[in-house]
């Protein structure tokens, strides 16, 4: 099923609003059994809309990248998936968001349980000022009751999953703040993995890291997606091209195009997309 954007010859120059340019987003692939699906999801901060009527299906066991210029709402959309916008008093969310088939903005849903299933990695690594061990144990302790032996196993397994075990196995009882930036970010990933999420959201996770650390985390993503859906917001198109199976392009709060990464970059359907990718703006 292909929904085409307005014909190329009808398009004017940049003075048009995005509403004129995007009659409907160009969603070139049908995702069956999505891990996460949003339907007309909109978020506004007070009166100012941040994202508008985003309908998108995120596939399971794949990495989906969301790209777009600064301020286009990618982070807002990401945070809407695990209801982190709830912590902002002026945020208003409308529309539906389905995780595993359940509308998480429905009346009886406790965001606390949602966040166990859908983890979020922040742009700047934010380990707690505790030991490495306790950082990971924190999330587990909140949701589960475990014996000390079980906890040891979980901590080790999470650290291995995050490719961090070998580097910290002798420093479990030392402060997490003593780790390098890249290690701290992998610790945050391990922290999220320890509670066995079904999806992992990453908000520009490498922008504060050096290239080596970035590469390690990108490698990690290839491993992790075997077990969960990954959604990564990035302003770095090369990164999207490297790690993502699918890419969504957003502009001024709307979804413009969604396709397999290769298709989107090589044969963009919307002119906006093409302009962004070729660097004409953003």
């Amino acid at each position: 099923m292909r929904l085409l954007v307005k014909e190329r010859k009808e398009r004017e120059t940049a003075s048009e609003t995005v509403e004129d340019l995007v009659v409907r987003p160009s969603v070139a692939v049908e995702v069956e059994y999505p891990a996460i699906e949003s339907r007309d999801l909109s978020v506004a901060y007070g009166r100012k809309p941040a994202i508008r009527e985003i309908s998108l299906r995120i596939p399971r066991n794949q990495t989906t990248a969301i790209i777009g210029p600064s301020g286009c709402g990618k982070s807002t959309y990401l945070r809407a998936i695990n209801r982190m916008n709830d912590t902002i008093p002026t945020a208003r969310t409308t529309g539906q968001l389905f995780v595993d088939g359940e509308d998480v903005y429905g009346p009886d849903v406790d965001p606390v349980l949602l966040r166990r299933k859908v983890g979020l990695i922040f742009q700047k690594p934010n380990p707690f000022p505790k030991t490495v061990y306790k950082n990971i144990a924190f999330g587990v302790n909140i949701h589960f009751r475990t014996t000390p032996e079980e906890m040891d196993t979980i901590v080790e397994s999470a650290l291995r999953q995050a490719n961090l075990w070998d580097e910290v196995k002798d420093r479990l009882q030392e402060s997490a703040l003593g780790l390098s930036g890249g290690q701290q970010q992998r610790l945050c990933i391990a922290r999220a993995l320890a509670i066995q999420p079904e999806a992992l959201l990453m908000d520009e996770p490498c922008s504060a890291l050096d290239p080596v650390a970035t590469a390690r985390i990108e490698d990690l993503m290839f491993e992790l997606k075997k077990e969960m859906a990954i959604v990564i917001v990035t302003h770095n198109m090369q990164q999207a091209a490297r790690v993502a199976d699918y890419t969504a392009f957003m502009y001024l709060g709307r979804l413009v195009e969604f396709n397999r990464t290769r298709e989107l970059f090589e044969r963009p359907q919307a002119d906006l997309t093409e302009n962004y990718i070729t660097g004409r703006f953003g």
């Binding site: 406790d110 606390v112 349980l113 909140i142 949701h143 589960f144 009751r145 475990t146 079980e150 979980i154």
Partner: protein, 287 residues
Amino acid sequence: MKPRSIAVRRMTERVYVAGFLVGIGIALLALIVLLASILITAWPRLSPAILFNYSNARDPATAGYAAAIVGTLWVVGLTLLFSLPLGIAAGVYLEEYAGKGRVSRILQAAVTNLAGVPSVVFGLLGLAVFVRFFGLGPIVLAGALTLTMLVFPYVVITTQEAIRAVPSSIRDAALALGSTKWQAIRRQILPAASPGLLTAAILAAARAMGETAPLLVIGALFLQTFIPYGPESPFIALPVLIYAYTILPVDQWGGVAAAGIVVLLGLLFSINAVAIIVRNRLQRQRW
């Protein structure tokens, strides 16, 4: 490994939040009960006469605060006269001129630590130094000097905060125009900080007005049947007289003491109100 029940977690949270509210509830309740009990007790004694009668320990109906009010005005007035210039000057020095060296740090630490000294210790100091050593005796001047030492650190700290709150753009603009440091301070920074400085002055006045222990210690009188006539006069201050009435039997004298509190709170309220008005005027004058 077993999952924890979300219902239990949420219930725990609700219990704790209820508990947190107790803290606020008690504070609110205390304020209400405090004001109510004082007003109710003071009611029978609240009449203009309370402001004009002299104090006595015989008849509650004729007891008043005339001498005490004047005494407080004298003491607080002199205290402000001494402490404001000194305190603001010190605050300006510490915030604008002091470097990061040892001396500056010691000075700043001295100011901060002075602010934490119990008021009764200042009273003992006043007793030893002004009343005894300098031989002033328990007069208004001694009281004012004692309170000056107590109030000084607060003026310094509030002045520093007021100067810190001035946007650096004002400072940078003055610098760029080639003004001297003192010119900039006198013409730009201090005027910009004037609402904050006014707060400092009000704070000083309020503290000086309400402090009982130091004046008690240096020998303010309990009974005075004359109006204090100047800095060299023996004196009684409002809070001290209130205290004196609390020593007498509560049933008869409680009302008089409570009426004194009403007068004291009234004075404090008026100063704060004046301050807010003046501060708004000052802030409106600016850009």
